[in-house]
Amino acid sequence: MNNFLFFLFALASIPLMSECPWWSIALTCSVALHAYLASQSYFKVLSFFWTGTISLVVLLIVYNEFGNIFGPEPASAYLVVLGALKLEEVRNRRDTMILLLLNVLMVMYYLLFNQSLAATAYMFLMLFLIAFGLISAQTPRNAWDIVSKAAPRTAIKDIALSAPLFIIMFVLFPRFSTPWASFMGEEKNPVGFSDRLQPGEMADLLQSEEPAFRVTFKNQNSSSSQASLYWRGAIFDETVNGWNWSSHEMQTNINRRANVSSKSDVEYELTLEPRFDKKLFVMEHTEDVQWLDSTNMNPIILSPNSTYISKWPIGSRQTYKARASSESSQAFTLSQSEQSRLTEIKPPSAEVAELVRRLKFNSSLAKDFADNLLKYFQQENFSYVTKTPTMNSLDDFLFQEKKGFCEHFATASAALFRYANIPARVVVGFRGAEPSFFNDYFLIRDKNAHAWMEYYSDEKWHRLDPTSAVSATWIQAGQISDDQSLTGGLGSGRVRQWFRKFSLLYDQAEFRYSQLLLNYNFSAQMELLRWDGSKKWLRTLLIFLTFGLCTLIVWFFYRWSLHFKSQDVLAEAMSRLRSHLLKKNIPIAESDGPLRMTRLCIEKYPDKEKQISDYFSHWIETRYGRKKLTSETLRRLKNYPV
């Protein structure tokens, strides 16, 4: 039992430890190891004084570090240590029970961090193991051999039998918010893009296969080419040296009147993964962004840059809908001060100035400048790589290394535009999309992160993706290319293909699971119970009656299954044996006892005389002798000799 408890604790605490601070992990592992060695009699167990002291000290450290002890992070840090300390003092059934219930708490805290299909499977596995542990704790030691085979079946069966009540409660339980929810808000560091842009920072993101968000298009014509899908996230329009960029703080809520929609508009729904970030990703020329859940109280703010952010960090999977027009329908006039700000940059080096002069050759048009810039990148054999040496300035990139990824190209291009006195800014977001397994949505992963730039001309902002000049394959496909530097390499093409298909299928299952169950909220509940018509009360009544009837049926079925067999099992077994022997053409009469049956069987099968004699001897001893009727005995009686 002790080994099982250690195994269970490891399963419950290891996933949770990924969210704990390093000192908590170190302490937990040390105490757990000591407890295990103590259980093997290598050490003495820690006394109550030491376990109590360690608990108190950890509590104080947690409070000092997190400011409270109830949020997911502080509670996890404390729980894992507490669980390890409890392992030290498992001496009797009471300790075992407390440890098992502590494991339930640890699993719960893990689920606060991770909501996915895999986490659901983990939850079921842990509940099964804990149920098995509860049975083990109650079973007397001398009966363990008998119970150990039935205990897993009992645990699985009982979890399965709890499904009807679980389903009913899950569907009908009201999704209310608690008054203390605002105090327990998470302040985690956002995952993904930072608020400052320094070329090279996106390198890790480009290697990650984690999903960033998923998009479902509502119109047919919108899913034509995922290669044209640019998802704008953040704008960086302030720089000093053209290499490091930041955002200008102007997050004011602008109530822009949405234009009347037209047939060419793209309507889409975007489901963000929880990144504790405020940025919302939208297509270009998007208007009218709203949360799909009308009860979502997190306001969406539109900035003058046409980027959208939420007021509070998004810590759970959220979906919003938006509409994008095919092109910008509004002229956008920049004020003089704004133009100055968007061309502000410190004077270039002589080499850069000379380059800008060459790119402006014989034309003052911004479009010509853009074309010349792209040609320059191609002619100078700039290359796209994801692993670059450290570059500290624009000159390093433009004249020495001549290689980098989207960040380098975008920032360098925007800087060059500014040197040419053309307002420019860097846009960071995602590029491209991957169709799902059943082609019903598009998946955008972290490695689709991209940076490009926009320049202002003719009262409009124009997108320019300088990376297109150097990595056409990647850009045109909008998907993962065969470039090993992008994919990291997975071996042969077939293996990679199968892995990709499996990955998409899993993502499909995960997404649908998330939509149906994980995102089941108050709105979805009301939608389920509402009837758009005059007889809404009838539907509600029908739903409740259906659930009630299902519950009753399950209840009666379970009560019937509980009815234990109290009739003579041996008589039943004898009846089955008679039927079996009759099928073997042995003339057994109803009144024949085991002795006559033995004789008749031996007459028919003389070569099996010994087996027949042993079998019926066992039968006689069970029925008339002192042999106890156990499940083992019954099993032996079912192994007919003929």
Binding site: T120, L127, L134, P140, L165, W180, T630
Partner: protein, 287 residues
């Protein structure tokens, strides 16, 4: 014996589990986490099933009998209960608690095999005055298989179980034995018969032959005595009872036949365990 309804309630671990369920629900509502809601409701459903399973563990158990050996008051006795498992599966962790005169006596049977009987013996102090007592209640309970709920039931018709506390033997020796001249001439061995005093068993013969034989002695005195209640006039009731109890005990130990005359009943001469208990029973019920 028929059984009453089975009751079920969380024990201390069940209450702890319920508290945990409330914590899970609060966490789910706070963070609007559907997976935690799922876990909470799954635990709730599991708890409902655990109630049924715990009751099921008890459902097949029949309370057959309880036997408390009568003994002198202020001495200890042995209580034995008999349970039967009528199902095809073994049952575990059956607790039986009887209460009489405010004193709880607990039995624990760890396992009863399928279609089998099991018993449990417990020493019981008879710290009560002499008399006839009846069982008030027999509580049969279990917390198997999950240890979160306690299911219990009460055995019916247990008032018919009587427990006799015999009067404490105290007083003078048997009157006939005071003047009797006894001869202790060894008269030979005979086979042991139930009721013979174990003091007369010849253990040396047993070690040789593995058979019980008692020694017979020739005695010049009479082989049976009469014990009269009227011989005890002048004493209060309790003293009379103690004295008579002492005489009966001595007569039984001496392996002589004794006849006991109570005010309303006379028990014919006899000896042996059965006769002894019958006499003591009548003595206890006296007054």
């Amino acid at each position: 014996m028929q059984r009453k309804k089975i009751y079920c309630f969380p024990n201390r671990f069940g209450m702890l589990g319920f508290t945990l369920f409330l914590v899970i629900l609060a966490a789910a509502a706070t963070y609007q986490n559907n997976l935690v809601f799922m876990m909470g409701f799954l635990c709730l459903g599991f708890a409902m099933v655990a109630i049924l399973q715990t009751a099921r563990n008890l459902r097949a158990v029949d309370f057959l009998n309880i036997h408390i050996e009568p003994n002198y008051s202020l001495q200890s006795s042995v209580a034995e209960i008999f349970l039967k498992n009528n199902s095809a599966e073994p049952v575990f962790n059956i607790h039986v608690k009887i209460t009489w005169l405010g004193q709880p006596i607990e039995f624990f049977i760890s396992e009863i095999h399928s279609q089998s009987m099991a018993s449990c013996r417990v020493d019981v102090p008879l710290n009560v005055p002499r008399g006839l007592y009846r069982l008030r209640r027999v509580n049969i309970s279990t917390d198997y298989p999950y240890g979160l709920f306690k299911a219990w039931t009460y055995a019916k018709h247990i008032q018919s179980y009587e427990i006799l506390a015999y009067p404490l033997p105290f007083g003078e020796s048997l009157p006939q034995m005071q003047s009797a001249t006894s001869s202790s001439d060894f008269a030979g061995h005979r086979s042991y018969e139930p009721g013979d005093s174990m003091n007369r068993v010849d253990w040396k013969v047993y070690s040789r032959r593995q058979e019980l034989h008692v020694k017979d002695f020739e005695s010049g005195s009479e082989s049976k005595i009469k014990l009269h209640w009227n011989q005890l006039d002048g004493q209060d009731l309790e003293h009379k009872l103690s004295q008579m109890s002492e005489w009966i005990r001595q007569a039984e130990q001496s392996a002589i036949e004794y006849e006991v005359n109570f005010p309303k009943i006379t028990l014919a001469a006899g000896r042996g365990e059965k006769h002894f208990h019958r006499c003591m029973c009548e003595l206890t019920r006296l007054a």
